[in-house]
Symmetry: C2
Subunit: 265 residues, 2 copies
């Protein structure tokens, strides 16, 4: 029997709301056993860039990270947000340590090719590159890694990476030594069968029900990559992926995508 671990990802909607973040961290701190937190950025980086007159460049909804933007996101994500989360978790007696991907070479990334679109200092992360040995050493000391989405190319350059991908890559990398529960917190109660009704949470998605939900057009475009990633994580050894509201991290709510061999139904 492997030990269990919770790998929890929170996004900008939690980080931008001081009360919501405080409540989430209190809940997260009370989760028993091994755990890892991955956090996104929030609007502070955008506000900071505006105040410093650094234009935000986007391509089809995705941010282009030029040198000035890299500086801002490193300052905000790895500096202000990461260290504040760590300090708050320490207050709650959760022995957190903040990490960028450069720290102890935990998350090396590959800078994205500049063609067809040059996204700048953006790094793609692969599960097999994660330094899970060092993470396990921390976890065995009851230390909780808190990872921001800044990585590095091992050649001296910091890179901006996708926090969802970091979370699923860490989950896959740690699944060789842990029974991994990967939790994506977002601003809704879960995957909804009616996007306008927060009570319409689909409690469980199996591969066959997913096919039906897609065919019937019930799961909308924005949700598809999240669920595809969830199945990818499950296929690679993660036991369970849960998509839920950040306020429910301790509650048995949201949408669960489980490994077939632990499905009850």
């Amino acid at each position: 029997m492997k030990p269990e671990i919770n790998i929890v990802k929170i996004g900008g909607n939690v980080i931008d709301n001081e009360a919501a973040l405080s409540q989430f961290l209190q809940d997260f701190a009370s989760l028993e056993g091994a755990k890892v937190l991955i956090h996104g950025g929030g609007k502070l980086a955008t506000r900071m860039a505006e105040q410093l007159n650094i234009p935000t460049q986007m391509h089809e909804g995705r941010r282009i990270t030029d040198a000035d933007t890299l500086k801002i996101v490193t300052m905000v994500y790895a500096g202000w947000i990461n260290k504040n989360i760590v300090a708050q978790l320490q207050r709650l007696h959760c022995n957190a340590i903040g990490l960028s991907g450069a720290d102890a070479n935990v998350i090396p990334a590959v800078r994205r090719a500049p063609a067809p679109i040059d996204f700048g200092f953006v790094g793609d992360v692969q599960p097999e590159q994660i330094n899970h040995t060092f993470l396990s050493t921390l976890l065995q000391q009851d230390i909780c890694p808190v990872c921001c989405a800044i990585t590095h190319d091992t050649q001296g350059n910091l890179l901006n990476s996708n926090a969802d991908t970091i979370a699923s890559s860490l989950a896959i990398a740690l699944s060789s030594t842990y029974d991994v529960r990967l939790v994506f917190c977002f601003e809704k109660e879960g995957v909804l069968s009616n996007p306008d009704d927060e009570r319409s949470v689909i409690p469980e998605i199996t591969r066959s029900s997913y096919a039906t939900l897609k065919a019937d057009g019930i799961i909308t475009a924005g949700m598809l990559p999240k669920i595809d990633n969830a199945f990818k994580a499950i296929d690679a050894g993660v036991q369970e992926v849960v998509i839920k509201h950040a306020k429910n991290v301790l509650q048995d709510r949201g949408t669960t995508i489980s490994h077939p061999n632990i499905l009850i139904s």
Copy 2:
């Protein structure tokens, strides 16, 4: 015989000069054995505060850290500077990990009393509070801690601390398990007998020669606290304190203050 360790502190003059920092990091990376780097801030925080229209408040030459200033120094010191140093050391095959004092509770600090002057979010560090057990765990894995001067009060608040004090506190705390060589890098060749002549380095200061140098007015006011701190570290178990130029970290130059029982003279 205890293993040896180099604890090296660099200040803003190195950090603000890209070429000097790059050369220093190359030298530091090639130092053999256990090592720790402590870095100060540099002018980027001041420039950033100016661009964001946050006024710099000083009292007798010392910065007052209000909430806005704390945000800036945390972003710059713990974010941009710390992660860039780590990424560069990783490129040089030095397995660095960036730490604030909040991370793994490595450096808890006590917020300075608001009277007679309220310096704001400023924390004083004591050697006996340093979490040297965790640092030793990292060092045993050939990991090099890179510490910025941001600490925490264990109650959820980040604090701005003095990098020199962090360096000497870490040195004292680690002297129970290591033979510690504490190196302060600054912009001069060492302690000079003639402040206008870089060739007038005093190679060694003993307690008795220090008394004479002070009595003769050769050591100037600005240098006294550095040397007082050096003797304090020596008294508390540090083997050797060296004050030298950052470009000479590998050279046997600068001013040495040694533990009496290892003095050759």
